[in-house]
């Protein structure tokens, strides 16, 4: 295979009339990557933080997500139950093993069945934390990790996402900066998911149908209190 590698790279250099081992050109490419400068950022989301939260909610709902706003972390269990009741769903959730979520007083709701861990085929609803919300397009940013398994974002029919308001940013570029800061020693999560509304397909006669393979519904609980204890970057 290394023969293929050399042949492809040699071919590229020949076609571009470039020399191997060109340190000046390499320094400029490495510099461009390490600076990761922003290109043009659309004005739409360059707003004060309050307006960014408003834009986030507006754009997420336009993408067919539903939203709810609560004041405190302690209000989340009730907000989850409200949602399950609204859509007449089984009172059963699969919780991401995130201490900020597992530490809530779920046991005060005896009718709600809680499990923690990765998604299983029968799960009807999951609750997961969001790393950021991007106002520009109403997009959630979820990072995989030991406390945030990715299957919870895709397998259950209902995906409930908890987003602290301080985690709402304007454009995508702000979210990337926070993600870079939050990772130690140049580590990077296996999966970064940008999620904009629930799963859909228009593959049959261009008719839009919700819930193709991923969740049929996406519900976002925005929490005003800054209490999830994760690094903000």
């Amino acid at each position: 295979m290394s023969e293929a590698r050399d042949q492809i790279l040699d071919g590229v250099r020949r076609a571009l009339k470039r020399q191997a081992g060109d340190d000046v050109r390499k320094a400029s490419v490495d510099g461009r990557i390490s600076q990761h400068r922003r290109n043009l950022v659309p004005k739409r989301a360059l707003l004060d933080h309050g307006a960014q939260i408003g834009l986030f909610v507006d754009m997420a709902e336009k993408a067919a997500a539903t939203t709810a706003r609560v004041a405190h972390y302690a209000d989340i269990p009730d907000a989850v139950i409200d949602y399950l009741k609204r859509f007449n769903l089984p009172h059963k959730i699969k919780l991401a093993p995130d201490p900020a979520l597992t530490g809530l007083s779920w046991t005060a709701r005896p009718l709600l069945k809680i499990e923690t861990g990765i998604a299983a085929p029968g799960d009807s609803a999951s609750v997961t934390p969001a790393f950021a919300g991007i106002a520009e397009t109403g997009t959630l940013m979820l990072l995989s990790g030991p406390t945030a398994p990715t299957t919870l974002n895709f397998l259950p029919e209902n995906h409930i996402v908890v987003l602290t308001e301080s985690r709402v940013v304007g454009p995508f570029e702000d979210a990337w900066d926070r993600a870079r800061t939050a990772q130690r020693d140049g580590a990077w999560p296996r999966t970064v998911n940008f999620i904009t509304g629930p799963s859909r397909s228009a593959d049959i006669e261009q008719q839009l149908q919700m819930g193709a393979h991923g969740p049929r519904r996406l519900h976002i609980i925005l929490v005003a209190e800054d209490g999830d204890g994760q690094g903000k970057g």
Binding site: I8, W176, R190, I204, G214
Partner: protein, 473 residues
């Protein structure tokens, strides 16, 4: 995939006379959706300039970006497989599947997968590939190739989908013929769920490769690509070298164009950045992460008049806005990529002698270039192919003789003008009665669908000369 581009003219006749296809093609709503999305983003055209510049920069330094990408992705536990040809790519995939004793392989949508015929190859080797994008699943059941690069089953009606499901889903105990799109989707969802769980290996494509982080990126609306990669022992990515971008910011700039140009969405529902296999403490994710980097003729386009085509991000805007595509659908083009992008890319990848008719399947109206988010000069490249086809003597004989005759006259302006004046006068006299011609000798194909108006008055050249003489210009 076996090409039938040689039969283009026959394919077109069949497509135009296929009533079911024509009914399916009237429902395309992509143009209006794109226009609305573009109008909501005032910076759209400036972003197109920047996106073009980003890709140009990468292509001009592709060797270095490939090396940097390789270093970053392997540092994070990924395995990169360099493949010159479709053969090498298929062998690399098979080797991984065999080592993991894979029986079922789920697949997200991948045009490179179509290009290298990975499904047929896996089947021939006793492994069952299952397409999971709804459109791809439908056409896999029907044993046909995609007709569009983002809407593979766009040539089908709901009834045809219902028939395919009824025939193929009996084995799962589904014996009722479904009428509604929602029910068809629900049934596919239920069946494919089992496949996701049972699969050993998941294969996806890649919209981008990112040098900064060594990540591959997929964009879907269904979430099938994510279930494909997260529920299996290994995630295999089929990618090509020109998918590289330097940084997350650069990918972001192009993502702002991609969904808007494709479906008119602000963002597709799922944009996923995958970097290496699951980490030590992760609870899920694939145990292995492989990228099959297949060239298949692309880097040979660097430094040629076709280099710009390597900027393509496969959004399908050119296809959606092409009057020819909208008339004949995608299958007539006879290979993986239809529409204007296909007419440029297909001759480049499988040869102009196989696909010489495709660059002629254009009126050069320019709509493709006007909507291309990466500002690829598609009409110019179609003309390049036409020149090459002519140089190689591949164009049909009457066409070449006619063109040579025309060129002989065109090099002799006086004779040319005299001749055209005479011809126009003659046509004018002959056509005076009806004002148009139903049939013209040597132009039966053209007059088959419309009448040729009879010329009126003097030619443009003589009007021009008269204007100049009278000093008004």
């Amino acid at each position: 995939m076996q090409a039938t581009s040689r039969n283009f003219k026959k394919n077109v006749h069949a497509a135009i006379n296929d009533a079911t296809l024509q009914r399916a093609m009237t429902k395309l709503g992509f143009q209006a959706a794109r226009a609305a999305a573009v109008s909501r983003l005032p910076e759209f055209d400036k972003l197109r300039d920047q996106a073009r510049d980003i890709k140009n920069h990468v292509l001009e330094n592709l060797d270095l970006y490939l090396e940097r990408y390789e270093a970053e992705m392997t540092r994070r536990g990924g395995q990169l497989h360099w493949c010159r040809t479709a053969d090498e790519a298929r062998a690399a995939v098979l080797e991984i599947c065999r080592r993991l004793d894979a029986k079922i392989v789920t697949k997200g949508k991948s045009m490179v997968g179509e290009e290298i015929g990975i499904n047929e190859f896996l089947e021939a080797n006793g492994i069952a590939p299952v397409e999971t994008d709804l459109g791809e699943y439908i056409i896999q059941l029907r044993h046909e190739p995609p007709s569009h690069i983002i809407a593979p089953a766009v040539h089908l009606t709901k009834d045809q989908v219902a028939d395919a499901f009824l025939e193929n889903h009996r084995q799962y105990g589904k014996t009722r013929r479904l009428e509604e799109a929602a029910d068809l989707l629900a049934e596919a969802r239920e069946i494919l769920r089992e496949k996701f769980i049972a699969a050993d290996v998941g294969i996806t494509g890649a919209n981008f490769l990112i040098a900064e982080t060594g990540s591959s990126v997929i964009v879907t609306n269904e979430g099938n690509g994510d279930l494909t990669q997260n529920l299996t022992k290994a995630h295999i990515v089929l990618a090509t070298p020109e998918k590289l971008v330097p940084t997350l910011e650069d990918a972001t700039t192009i993502l702002r164009l991609l969904a808007r140009s494709a479906t008119g969405q602000e963002m597709s529902v799922y944009t996923t950045f995958s970097t290496g296999p699951r980490r030590g403490e992760d609870l899920d994710g694939p145990g292995e992460y492989h990228v099959i980097l297949v060239d298949n003729g692309r880097t040979a386009l660097l430094g040629t008049e076709f280099q710009d085509i390597l900027r393509c991000i496969r959004c399908a805007a050119c296809i959606n806005h092409c009057p020819v595509y909208n008339t004949i659908g995608g299958h007539a083009y006879g290979w993986v990529y239809p529409g204007p992008i296909g007419s440029v890319l297909t001759p480049a990848l499988i040869g102009i002698d196989e696909a010489g008719d495709l660059p002629n399947a254009s009126t050069l109206c320019g709509r493709c270039e006007s909507v291309c988010p990466m500002r690829i000069p598609l009409p110019k490249m179609l003309r390049h192919w036409r020149e090459k086809e002519f140089e190689k003597g591949l164009a049909p004989k009457p066409f070449r003789t006619g063109l040579k005759l025309w060129a002989w006259f065109a090099k002799r302006p006086r004779l040319y003008h005299f001749g055209s004046r005479m011809a126009m006068k003659l046509l004018g006299i002959l056509g005076r009665g009806r004002g148009s011609f139903r049939h013209l000798p040597l132009a039966r194909g053209w007059t088959g669908g419309r009448d040729m108006p009879a010329p009126e008055g003097p030619t443009f050249q003589s009007l021009w000369a008269a204007e100049r003489k009278s000093g008004r210009t």
